[in-house]
């Protein structure tokens, strides 16, 4: 068990950005009408947001960060820490966080690095930035989390093309000795590394002409080795056998009464998975909002996207939130945070 209790760190604000272009699953050209109906009903996704060819995950995060800093009235030279969490960075190397430090006009006196995680990335990133900030008196930090999964997905693969949506986010945190303690529990199981993966293009299977050849995997699933694989059934099993029990352990160990949690913000995998989690935990559906319908599965950004989309207007000033991210890695993480009236911007749209 990797347990972390972090004091002195306050979550001051959150913002999320989605691309303007919307794709509807009912318009998907490679499935029959009936198949589409079954899929939309069970996966719970009607529309997804797709970034343009020129736009990267970091562009979406940058816009969220700029708007959030403006609203918080934070000066750029005050930011000492920037963490970028993504599986779709601007380049293989260098990392994207130093580029964002420069593009945002932050001072060179700023610690910046990337974390390569997906579905669990928001909660992991929050634990890392809070852990560092708690030892940096008077410091301020930005956690930028986002993915442009559309660049990884084969349009002819019904197991991924109808799920993933692009989004970026920014969360502002600062050193504050009066802040409520944050609780985290983090896990990994690399035995399941091939359940969600892009096989070719890294060190293990370098780019080659062959990696770009589109192959028929099964009916309705055509992709190359340079595109995303998703084993939906394995992920469903993993979620119910590993992730849900980890949540129950987390509640037990922290003496948390589930009824005292105002909102449960889960990674948005798909409706079948998210409904199953809610059912297993025995919590009220209205306390576990889903944003799948219009914003799909936005990988690392799905928790902030749900927060902004669903709680922008309804979060009480002081709220207890349970967060859980789970998936690619395999990697999963739970957190309990108490927020005190953080700024939550309306959903930002990235034109282009």
């Amino acid at each position: 068990m990797a347990y972390l209790n972090i004091k002195n760190c306050k979550l001051s604000g959150i913002a999320a950005t989605i691309p303007a272009k919307e794709e509807h699953n009912t318009s998907y050209p490679f499935l029959k009408e009936k198949e589409k109906q079954v899929l939309v009903k069970n996966v719970g996704i009607n529309a997804r947001r797709i970034a343009s060819k020129e736009t990267t995950a970091s562009d979406l995060c940058q816009l969220a960060a700029e708007k959030l800093l403006e609203k918080l009235n934070w000066k750029k030279e005050e930011i000492n820490l920037l963490i970028f969490v993504s599986q779709t960075p601007d380049f293989i190397t260098p990392g994207t966080a130093p580029i964002l430090q420069h593009r945002l006009g932050l001072s060179q006196n700023c610690l910046a690095f990337d974390i390569n995680l997906g579905c669990s990335g928001y909660v992991y990133g929050l634990s890392v930035i809070a852990g560092i900030l708690s030892r940096m008196p008077d410091a301020k930090g930005l956690l930028l989390v986002g993915d442009k999964s559309s660049q990884l997905v084969s349009k002819k693969d019904k197991s991924t093309a109808l799920l993933f949506s692009d989004a970026g986010s920014a969360t502002a945190l600062e050193y504050d000795p009066s802040a409520a303690e944050m609780h985290f529990d983090l896990y990994s199981d690399g035995a399941g590394y091939d359940a969600i993966m892009v096989k070719a293009g890294g060190g293990r299977y370098p780019f080659s002409e062959e990696a770009l050849v589109e192959k028929e995997i099964s009916e309705g699933i055509r992709r190359s080795d340079a595109q995303l694989i998703l084993k939906g059934l394995d992920i469903f099993n993993f979620t119910l056998k590993k992730v849900v029990p980890s949540m129950l352990t987390f509640f037990d160990n922290n003496n948390i009464d589930k009824n005292a949690v105002d909102y449960f913000l889960f990674h948005q995998a798909n409706k079948l998975i998210n409904d199953a989690i809610t059912r297993k935990l025995g919590i009220d559906k209205t306390k576990a909002p889903q944003s799948l319908d219009l914003y799909g599965n936005s990988s690392s950004a799905s928790i902030p996207v749900t927060w902004v989309a669903k709680l922008h207007e309804s979060t009480p000033a002081a709220a207890t939130l349970f967060l859980s991210g789970f998936g690619v890695g395999l990697s999963w993480a739970n957190a309990l945070i108490k927020v005190n009236n953080p700024i939550c911007l309306e959903m930002i749209t990235y034109e282009n």
Partner: protein
Amino acid sequence: MQQDQFIKEIAAEFEHEKNITAETKFQQLKSWDSMHALIVIARIDELCNVMLSADDLKKAKTIQDLYQMVIRQKSS
């Protein structure tokens, strides 16, 4: 849950297929794919609180086989 009810509930998940019975070899249905596998596993978990794996599903031929598997797992 009784077998009849189980068959009825699972058959409902194949809404575009006709005449689903206990003996239906579901993996040979035209609409069967990985998405349907996920739907069936999720539904069984919801109805019976039993999680079948992808391998379990491959071993089962008919919906009745699925029911037997659920009963076995419940009693083990």
